[in-house]
Symmetry: C2
Subunit: 422 residues, 2 copies
C-alpha cells in the first residue's frame, strides 16, 4: 500500500486552540473591551477555554487587563482589551497610481499614513519597490514609530492577471519574482499578498465574514475582483488567485479587457468599462472624455441627483446594474453564498443608486431560488480616516491584519492561514 500524498492538512488540537484564540481576538476587536464572561457568552466557548486562551494572550502581551472600579462592594471587575501598545503593524497598498502605507497599533487602530504617487508612464519593479520603501518610512516617521516597534509589514500587490506582455501596467508581473529584493529593502518582517485576499481578511476581522458560513466581498474600482470567505477562512486557491472574478466571462467575444482577453466582467463593470458604457450611449457626453477615473466616478451621483437627472448617466447606471447583476449571479450559481458585500470606490460613490437595481438583477439572473435569501449590501468595512486615503481602508487594514496574523503565527499563537511563501 503506497504512502498517499497528503495534500490535505490534518487538523489538530493545536488548530482548535488557534481557532479559539482567533474567536476571542475577533470578539475583543468587536467589543473594544470585555470581561471573560462576556467573551465566553459571545464566542460560545466555555469559561475554562476563555481563561486558558486569555492566559496565552496575556503572557504574549497581545491583550491587557483593565481594572475598573465596580459600582458595588467586593473586588473590582477586570476587563480585557487588545493591547495596542504591543507594537505597530503596517499595511502597504500598492495601487495603479499610488503606494500608500498605513500604520496601525497592535489593536488595529489606525495611527497615520503616507502616500507616494506613482507615474503610470514609468512603473517597473525597482520603481515600485522604491515607492513602497519611501511610503513606509514616511508613514513610520509621521506617527513616531521606531522600526523595532514594527511587528510586521503587509504589502498588497496587484495580482498580475494580464495574459499578454504587451498590456501596459504600472505594477509589473515580474515584481512577484523579486519579493526577496522587496523584503531586503524593507528590512522588517514582511508578508505579501494580493488585494482580494486583503479585502476578504478585512471582511473577516471587521465585517460580515465571521457572521456567515459563506460570504463574498466584491471589489469595484479600476480593477474588480471578489474576496471569498468560506467557513471563516479566506479562499486562496492553488496559486492564491481565487477571486479573480473580474476576469471571468460576461460575454464571449465581447469588449476587450485590459488583461488581453475579450468579454471579462472587468471590461463592463470596472471604472473604464462604466465609462465605455456611457460613451456607447452618448459618445459626445462630456463625462465620456473625463481623463481621471476617480473624477469620472464621483461625478456620476451628482449627475443623477441633479434637478433634471442626466438621462445618459441614468441609462449607464441601469446597464451597469444589469452587467453587475448578471456577473454576481455567476458567483451565486457557483458558490451560492449567504451574503455579498460591495466595496471599492465605485460601490462607495454609487452604492445608493446601484444596489437596489443590482439586487433585482441578481435575483433575476441567479439559478432557481438560489438568491432568494441572499443579502447584498455595501460593505461596512470602510472606516473614516483623517488622511485622504479613507476609501482604500479595506485593503490597508486587511493587509495589515494579514501581517498581524503572521506575527501571531510566528509567536506560536495562531496556526497561520497565509501561505508562508508570500
Amino acid at each position: 500500500m503506497p504512502r498517499r500524498e497528503r495534500a490535505l492538512a490534518r487538523r489538530t488540537s493545536r488548530d482548535i486552540r488557534s481557532e479559539s484564540r482567533l474567536d476571542v481576538l475577533h470578539a475583543l476587536l468587536a467589543a473594544g473591551e470585555a470581561s471573560r464572561s462576556d467573551l465566553a457568552r459571545v464566542t460560545g466557548l466555555s469559561t475554562a477555554t476563555v481563561a486558558t486562551v486569555m492566559g496565552d494572550l496575556l503572557s504574549g502581551g497581545i491583550v491587557s487587563e483593565v481594572r475598573t472600579e465596580s459600582g458595588g462592594i467586593g473586588r473590582p471587575a477586570t476587563t480585557l482589551r487588545l493591547n495596542g501598545d504591543r507594537g505597530r503593524v503596517v499595511g502597504v497598498d500598492v495601487a495603479e497610481t499610488y503606494v500608500r502605507a498605513t500604520v496601525f497599533d497592535a489593536a488595529l487602530a489606525e495611527l497615520g499614513a503616507a502616500e507616494v504617487a506613482t507615474d503610470e508612464h514609468r512603473g517597473g519593479t525597482d520603481y515600485i519597490i522604491d515607492a513602497v520603501v519611501r511610503a513606509l518610512e514616511t508613514a513610520l516617521e509621521r506617527v513616531g514609530a521606531a522600526r523595532e516597534d514594527v511587528l510586521g509589514v503587509g504589502v498588497s500587490l496587484p495580482g498580475g492577471m494580464q495574459r499578454s506582455a504587451s498590456v501596459s501596467v504600472v505594477v509589473p508581473n515580474e515584481i512577484w519574482h523579486h519579493l526577496d529584493r522587496l523584503r531586503e529593502r524593507i528590512g522588517l518582517p514582511v508578508v505579501v499578498d494580493n488585494p482580494l485576499k486583503a479585502i476578504a481578511t478585512a471582511e473577516l476581522w471587521f465585517g460580515e465574514g465571521r457572521r456567515h458560513s459563506s460570504m463574498i466581498t466584491v471589489n469595484l474600482g479600476t480593477g474588480v475582483g471578489a474576496g471569498i470567505v468560506l467557513e471563516g477562512k479566506v479562499l486562496r486557491g492553488a496559486q492564491n488567485t481565487a477571486g479573480e472574478w473580474g476576469h471571468s466571462l460576461l460575454a464571449l467575444g465581447g469588449r476587450r479587457c485590459r488583461c488581453g482577453r475579450q468579454g471579462c466582467v472587468e471590461a463592463y463593470v470596472g471604472v473604464a468599462g462604466i465609462q465605455r458604457t456611457l460613451a456607447e450611449i452618448d459618445p459626445g457626453h462630456p463625462l465620456a472624455a473625463e481623463p481621471m477615473q476617480r473624477e469620472f466616478i464621483e461625478a456620476l451621483p451628482a449627475a443623477l441627483e441633479a434637478p433634471t437627472p442626466d438621462r445618459a448617466v441614468a441609462e449607464t447606471i441601469e446597464r451597469t446594474a444589469r452587467y453587475l447583476g448578471a456577473s454576481i449571479a455567476d458567483l451565486v450559481a457557483i458558490i451560492n453564498p449567504e451574503m455579498i458585500t460591495l466595496t471599492g470606490w465605485t460601490a462607495w460613490a454609487l452604492g445608493d443608486h446601484l444596489v437596489p437595481a443590482v439586487r433585482r438583477w441578481v435575483r433575476e439572473e441567479s439559478p432557481g431560488d438560489s438568491a432568494a435569501d441572499l443579502a447584498i449590501q455595501v460593505s461596512s468595512v470602510r472606516k473614516g480616516s483623517v488622511t485622504a486615503g479613507a476609501d482604500t481602508m479595506p485593503v490597508a487594514v486587511g493587509i495589515a491584519t494579514i501581517a498581524l496574523e503572521r506575527f501571531l503565527s510566528d509567536v506560536g499563537l495562531l496556526t497561520t492561514k497565509v501561505p508562508t511563501a508570500l
Copy 2:
C-alpha cells in the same frame, strides 16, 4: 455586548475524531484490506489513534478483522477491511428519462440495479415518486436484500434550476416540497440531495477529492454542472445549490437556455447545445436532426474517427472545446482549483477528442498563470458494471455514499456534512 449569531459551526475534538475515522475509512476503501500499521502510514495518523478509531469501527460492525497466516513464525497477522455484510445502501438516480436504483453492500461494492424508464411527456411529483419506489423495490428484490438490511437510501434529485414555470421538465421543482411524501412512500431511512453533490462525494471517496486541497468535477450530459470539493469537503452553499456553473453566463444575451435565461454555459456545452452548434455549422447534417441525445453524442466519435473525418463534426468539437475551455476558465478564475476532472456521458464519449483542446483553451482563457499547474482529466470514478447503467455510476455511488455517511452519522461515528433537512 450582545450575543453574536454564530453561523459558523465550532469545530470540536468530536469533529477531529470524526475526521480520523473518515480518513481510515477512505484508506480502507482504497486499499481493500490493510493492517493497522499500513493505515497509520497511509493516513499519517498515529498508531494509537488508528487503534482507537479501529476499536470504534469494529464495535460498530463497520469494519471486520481478517486473520491471515503469516509466512514466517510468530502470531498470525491481522488485517482489516470494510464489512460489506453490515448491511445494504441504495443510490437512486432520478434523471430526465429514467430512475435507476443501485444496491451496494456496506463496503460500497455494487450488487445490482434496476431501472424504470420515465416518459418526459408525463412527469409530475407522484409519477416520479412511484418510479423511485418501483426501481428501489425491484433492485432490492433482484439482489435478494431484505428491507431490514437497508442502512439507508440516497435519492439524487435534479436541482430545479429553471427560472420560469413554463419550462417543461420531467422532474418538477415542486417535488422538493414533497420530500416527506417521498420518505413516507420509501419507508426506510432516506437522504435526498442533488446530483452535483453526489458526484462531488463520489470524487471525494473514490477519486481525486482527498488527494487535493481543491478540486472540481465537471459533469457533462443533458445538464451540466460542477461538484466542488474544498479541503476535503463538498461545497454546498447557502441553499445547497453551489456548483450550478451550468447556469452561469458564457455569453450575455446569447443562446436561450432551457432554464429560461439566455447565454448559460449549459446552452453551449450541454448535449442539446453541442447539437445546436453542429446545426449552426451544417444545418442539413443528419446528426443535427438526431432525436435521441445519447445516440447523438455516441455518434460523434465514430464520425471523427472515420477514414474521412466528418468536417462539420470536427468543427463542432473545436467550438465545443472553446466554449468549455472558456467556461472552465471561469471556475479557475473564481476558485483556482488544483485539479479538474470531467465526468458524464459527453466526457466519456468524447474525452479523447475533447480534453487536449479543452486543456489548451483553459490555459489560454484563465487569468495570468492560474491554470499553469492545473491538471484536467476525465474522472477515474466510473466503475465498470454488469448493468446497462455503467455510466451513471458516479451519481449512484455518490448518493449511496451520502446515505452511508448519514448512517455513520446516525450511529455517532461521523459528524455529518449533509444538511439534515435533506
